[in-house]
Amino acid sequence: MAKVKGDILIDIERCKGCELCAVACPQDSLKLSQKINSKGYHFIVKIEDNCTGCTNCALVCPEGIIKVYRKTLNKKEPVATISNVSKDINITVGT
């Protein structure tokens, strides 16, 4: 299966800090910020770079202020390179 890498964009000015997205996130990558927005609410921020783009947060957000971006990594990236033979060999593992 191709690995999916995701990222989210949060409109922090409209966030009221209800933390529903933090509860819904299976990766536990969302947390309330210590800072506040112009209305005075602590807003949500992404603290871990492990988003899978599952869209749970965007679905539960009552304000609809989370945008989810997805990138599918079809290409197998090399995990090791063996040099010093006639030609460089790239080694990839599984899916």
């Binding site: 209305k39 005075g40 609410y41 009552p62 304000e63």
Partner: protein
């Protein structure tokens, strides 16, 4: 046709104001009710010609209401706790001059500038009169976004029926909460001119004057006696409350607004454990349903009053129960919302083993 929408409490309330034919809104933004002014300034004038104005302060806003409502128009304002405190002088004047208007208080944690999280710390201010003199507001406490919508319409009806300011006592959580609401049809703005409205003097009648200044003490007492008679009549006619599973309950939870919903969850958790718990929710805080509580105290063994303050409605609950049963209190302050589990733990701590 039913029109269902998912709306934020504040926006739903603003939409209801437009739909019920409100003529004017004067307000000043304050979290957690800024969305009301935001929503109205985008939509209201285009749709119904309703006047929406951001005043320079809350003090100005309430006096603009005094003027607009004095001319017989349907005027309203909304604010949160510190803003409501600023408005108290004007509210007292309006109550004395018997001018109908709608005030919405989306409560936040206090005292002082406090916090922006939900609280119920303005119960005394709203119900017992935060301003000077012997006056009362009709106070309605919604507990769902649907009620925020319905009560706007109801408030204007009550205000004009009794010529008295009406307050909707909501809180920050209800204001920010998104819920399903059923909206009523758009109504025409009312064109009829009330007999007391200051709209210019025709030759056929004496001029109308709105004032709250009466130098003659006898005249002032007369006005006070008239006001008190009116409040008595309101107490007799406008009582509203909700009883949930109270008929067989040993323990009754009392709470208004948002807390009543948390209490319902706590009550169902308690019933799973075999404790018979009911919920009593006053919808009108003035007039307060004292007699109904007293009736419940005949078979209920204990009352637990739950609030998001230090026990303000507790005094009224005790007056209602009048010594017939034990009354305990649980409250969180400063913007913290109690959880159903906390309330259940309190029921078990205070009553289980002794009363049930």
């Amino acid at each position: 046709m039913r029109e269902l929408k998912l709306m934020k409490g504040n926006e739903a309330m603003a939409e209801a104001a437009i739909r019920c034919g409100c003529d004017a809104y004067f307000g000043y933004p304050i979290t957690p009710q800024s969305e009301v002014l935001e929503y109205l300034s985008n939509e209201a004038h285009k749709r119904t010609g309703m006047v929406v104005l951001q005043a320079e302060s809350e003090v100005a806003a309430i006096n603009m209401i005094y003027g607009a409502a004095g001319a017989g128009k349907r005027a309203m304002t909304s604010s949160s706790s510190p803003g409501m405190s600023l408005m108290q002088e004007g509210i007292s004047y309006i109550a004395c001059a018997e001018i109908p208007c709608l005030l919405v208080n989306v409560m936040r944690g206090g005292p002082g500038l406090g916090t922006i999280q939900p609280s119920q710390g303005d119960y005394f201010q709203a119900v017992k009169g935060g301003g000077h003199g012997d006056y009362k507001l009709i106070v309605l406490a919604p507990s769902t976004v649907q009620e925020m919508v319905d009560f706007v319409k109801l408030s204007f009806e009550l205000a004009f029926k009794w010529r008295n300011p009406v307050m909707i006592l909501s809180d920050g959580a209800l204001g920010q909460m998104m819920e399903k609401v059923e909206l009523f049809e758009q109504q025409e703005r009312i064109k009829t001119i009330e007999s007391w409205a200051t709209v210019g003097k025709p030759e056929t009648r004496e001029r109308n004057v709105h004032t709250s200044l009466h130098m003659d003490p006898e005249k002032m007492e007369e006005i006070n006696i008239h006001l008190q008679a009116k409040y008595k009549a309101i107490e007799d006619e406008e009582l509203r409350f909700e009883k949930i599973n109270c008929d067989d309950a040993d323990i009754i939870l009392t709470g208004f607004g948002l807390v009543a919903r948390i209490c319902q969850k706590a009550a169902s958790l308690a019933r799973e454990r075999g404790i018979k718990v009911g919920v009593f929710r006053p919808i009108t805080l003035f007039p307060f349903p004292y007699a109904e509580l007293n009736k419940l105290a005949d078979h209920a063994k204990g009352f637990l009053d739950v609030e998001m303050n230090a026990g303000q409605m507790l005094e009224d609950v005790k007056l209602g129960v009048n010594g017939k049963a034990r009354v305990e209190f649980y409250g969180r302050m400063g913007g913290v919302i109690p959880s159903p589990e906390e309330i259940l733990a309190k029921i078990e701590e205070k009553f289980v083993g002794e009363l049930v």
